[in-house]
Amino acid sequence: MDKNLEKGKSKNFILILESFIEKYKVPIAGVSALILLGLPFMGFSQYIMRIFIMIGIYSMLALGLNILTGYTGLVSLGHAGFYAIGAYTASLLSLKLGANFLVAAIGGAVLAAICGLLVSLPTLRLKGTYLSIVTLGFGEIVKMILINWDKVTNGTLGLKNIPRPSMFGLKLTLVNNGMYYLMLVLVALITLLCTLLIKSKIGRAFMSIKEDELAAIMMGIKTTRYKALAFVISAFITGITGAFYASMIGFIEPNSFTFDISTLIISIVIFGGMGTIRGMFLGSAILIAFPEVFRFLMDYRFVVYGLVLVLMMRFRPQGMLGWKSQMPYKLPKLVKESLKKNNKDNLKTQQI
């Protein structure tokens, strides 16, 4: 009885929240855009700004993995591999060939996407855990290549002095907040891309594969092709993020892309709410800010972090923002009219 009451309460809370957001959509969007744009002028230290940029980076990574895991239902534990490929390719392009950031980033993303395709081809016959283990192996292989291919990647010493992006003759740095704004632009673009993708025919195909693969096949959907496509898009987004990360941090080495990164990304996706876009932002904000805020716990902060995830799995398995809409269904006009008509007819027959 009590449990039911509680459930009703929490549902109402979501409904209240949703109708509130629905009502004040424009002002909320405006205020949050203003806050995001004005953040650099609020006098935060470099350190804090850097955390904000890291949150942005992880939002992008989570959005990328979300396409694969949240919508298509394929769990990848090797996204650090795509991240590394994007970062290394872009850095090498700009270090050795002097390519500017845009070209380098797209180059990195394309190579990551190609690797995504190559990984997907032999693995798409695998399901669930088996696929995850193969992707885990992929992440490790990439790391090993980076360590051992000295000539190109400079081995464990890593790549130094990666140039910062410059746009319109202005060098973007952390100090002039150029990197922050570049991050905002990238996040906005990737969010837009994901939203458009999910609402399109391709997005529906992805979701149908997650929901029920057999039924999806019977609809005439080429499931293998769409799974490969999900891998490619996901790797592309991750690759771009890698390029941005490299140019922000200025120095990369194989150990920047360990298995921990892959688990962190997937934790964000699960924590925020699989298959939602809003969840990725909240998830990365909390999980990235958490270790920084709890620095006083030092050695124990990852224990707390693990505990939070365990509790999460127990009490909110769908993720922080992974709820379904509680708003009343808006019936299309046509349906409303036909329903009204039916009601009238019923009344008439009753009167007769």
């Binding site: 025919k201 529906r204 195909a205 979701m207 149908s208 929901e211 029920d212 057999l214 039924a215 999806a216 096949i217 019977m218 609809m219 005439g220 959907i221 080429k222 298959g275 379904k324 269904y329 808006k330 019936l331 299309p332 349906v335 036909s338 329903l339």
Partner: protein, 235 residues
């Protein structure tokens, strides 16, 4: 329209279909009845391209479709509504139906299919924006059939449409099957509920452990003492 000759299908070492042959003519309702494990679903799977067949032929409108990939078979005009009404629970009714028309590119034709399905199932029209998982069992079955109809199939294959439904809903589903057939769609029906299946179909095949044991006019089969005993529980 559809012709199967000497079809053999294996799952590993298990010989599921032992050389079955059958034919479906345009405009017919043909039912395939049999007990659990007789090979009913394997037959549908072999036609739809879900299961690879070892030998034998499946021809559809004079075209060999044996072991073709499923999406090409859907494009040719064969549509399967899978067993246990596998709708996409987290997607809305509208999205489910749109996925059904996945192979169709023509928007005008797609809206025509929508009106056709909504005319057949007014209940779905009322629930356009509801997620499929929140529908009742009968509604989900309607959605599964409606979704299969969205690709404007020549041949509609229904795998156990009455599974787990209340008797009055079963009646309704079978009435719908008759009206879909009257609109010109040929139907291949798989059922455990042999009585109902035989009452709506023109012809029937009886499957027993991978072999076709009996075939003929549905009414005659319904009166056959062997069928009565084995599948109708009479006698």
């Amino acid at each position: 329209m559809l012709k199967i000759s000497n079809l053999n299908t294996f799952y590993g070492h298990i010989h599921a279909l032992k050389g079955i042959s059958m034919e479906i003519k345009k405009g017919e309702v043909v039912s395939l009845i049999g007990s659990n494990g007789a090979g009913k679903s394997s037959t549908l799977g072999s036609i739809a391209g879900l299961v690879r067949t070892q030998s034998g032929n499946v021809t559809f409108m004079d075209k060999d479709i044996t072991n073709m990939s499923p999406h090409n078979i859907v494009k040719l005009g064969i549509s399967l509504s899978p067993e246990g009404r596998e709708v996409f629970p987290a997607l809305t009714v509208q999205e489910n139906l749109r996925l059904g028309a996945y192979t169709k590119k023509d928007k005008v034709k797609m809206s025509e299919s929508f009106t056709r399905v909504y005319d057949l199932f007014p209940r779905l029209k009322e629930r356009i924006k509801q997620t499929a998982g929140t529908l009742s069992g009968g509604e989900q079955q309607m959605l599964a059939i409606g979704r299969a109809l969205m690709s404007e199939p020549q041949l509609l294959m229904l795998d156990e449409p009455s599974l787990g439904l209340a008797p009055n809903l079963v009646l309704m589903i079978f009435e719908l099957i008759e009206s879909i057939n009257k609109q010109g769609t040929t139907i291949l029906l798989i059922e455990q509920n042999a009585n109902m299946a035989l009452s709506v179909s023109h012809r029937a095949y009886v499957l027993e452990t991978g072999n076709i044991s009996m075939t003929g006019n549905a009414k005659e089969l319904a009166n056959d003492p062997r069928v009565k005993k084995a599948y109708l529980g009479i006698g």
